[in-house]
């Protein structure tokens, strides 16, 4: 497992060796904060919370995380470096973990760049720091789950566009299951227990609790097991 660290380091710094990191960080910050101000009514709500900022996370992640994750394996396959990587003394699991953790750390950085917003809230009022901390924690966990899906789909193809599209569709499915509008449609067709069961697989259902300041072990377990499951499939896809 000591082999994870060079892979992690190369991958993480790799974002900053190309314009990818800067473009992504700027777009992420502008989009997330723009949505909070102009759609979420961040100031208009007149409350010292970050609710208006975090509400859009599941939707924002839907497009931005596949954008960050699509290159993880597709790029290696396209340029042939995958052959180099897998003839170095590294196991597939170490390579998958190293790259995943690097991308996750990068996304965490993007999320934490919004901290000045929390500072603004604190300057204007007295927010509940517990809620803010739990929401950040939940946001980072959810980013990991999205990224797990994207890392997997990226390992299936050497074409980044295909990788992006499949990632978005897969994440969209996981998102829609818990979206109230969609559940109502499902509710008119299927029995309630089935709709509840399906919505248990959704990002929104599990992220919601965090935004209310509740860190429920079952939500944490959901995100972590989704990460574990997708990374396991990722290893299988690469070793095939």
């Amino acid at each position: 497992m000591t082999q994870i660290s060079p892979v992690f380091k190369r991958e993480f710094l790799g974002y900053f060796r190309s314009p990818v990191a800067y473009v992504f960080l700027v777009v992420f910050s502008v989009a997330s904060i723009g949505l909070a101000f102009f759609v979420g009514g961040f100031f208009k709500a007149n409350q010292a919370t970050m609710q208006g900022y975090f509400t859009f996370y599941p939707w924002l992640f839907l497009f931005l995380i596949p954008a960050a994750g699509m290159r993880l394996w597709s790029e290696e396959k396209r340029t042939g470096t995958v052959e180099l990587l897998f003839t170095l003394p590294i196991t597939t699991l170490e390579a998958v973990l190293g790259k995943f953790l690097a991308a996750w750390a990068f996304l965490t950085l993007a999320i934490l760049l919004s901290l000045p917003l929390a500072g603004t809230v604190a300057y204007l009022g007295s927010p509940d720091w517990g809620v803010i901390a739990s929401t950040y924690f939940g946001g980072i966990l959810m980013a990991g789950a999205y990224l797990g899906v994207c890392s997997l789909t990226s390992a299936l193809t050497k074409n980044q566009v295909i990788s992006f599209v499949i990632s978005v569709v897969a994440c969209l499915a996981l998102l829609f299951l818990g979206w109230s509008v969609f559940s109502e449609v499902l509710g008119s067709i299927f029995p309630v227990w089935l709709v509840d069961l399906l919505s248990n697989f959704s990002f929104i259902t599990h992220f919601d609790a965090f935004t209310k300041g509740i860190v429920d072990p079952k939500d944490v377990v959901f995100f972590l097991s989704l990460i574990g499951f997708t990374l396991f499939l990722n290893v299988v896809a690469l070793e095939r």
């Binding site: 060079p6 380091k9 790799g14 042939g80 470096t81 170095l88 003394p89």
Partner: protein, 240 residues
Amino acid sequence: MIEVKGLVKTYGPKRAVDGVSFRVNRGDILGFLGPNGAGKSTTMKMITGFLRPDAGTATVDGIDVTVDPVAVKRKLGYLPESAPAYPEMTVEEFLGFIAEVRGFRSTDAKRAQVDRAIGLTHLTPVRKQTIETLSKGFKQRVGFAQALLHDPGVLVLDEPTDGLDPNQKNEVRSLIKAMAVEKAVILSTHILEEVDAICNRVIVISQGKVVADETPASLHARKPGARLDEIFRTLTASDV
């Protein structure tokens, strides 16, 4: 040092490698000849543990690559075809990454290995350049530097002189020759005179099968007075 027994690899209905067996000892430079698509690269990929053989074994220093791939990869230096490398990294960063994965973690040890590899392959003038800005000849040398960075006992080189100008070809050949004294080297090529220049053994492979395994002198003796490419054409006639 390298022992290959009955290797088989099938892609769909096509048998890319069909029962290839041979041995390479310390001090040997084995030239791997064959038309494009004959199975040279596939055989090399199985020896280096990138592809899993459908049948047969490849062992390096007595270690079976399917049983302990990481141990084999530690002993090997491998230059994949067209020398893939991470384009956004500089030569120094890239070789530094390889050094870390190869276990040279301390700054001094890493630096020593990188400097040695850069010196051997004459990369000093471009060490601070990103790989994507390099000419084909330099890229090829970066791949070569990566393969010999840890001074491995076994070198597997897939078309090491491809894309080099005549002077560079000469240089790479003399480098291989100088190193081979205490190493086992396999190199694939379709430049026939290369075999005469550096190899002390030749294997000709056609449609996935070994059709000749001998010294360059006895290959010449098959048709006295004929040029090497005529002999090659006769041997691989079935592969057109």
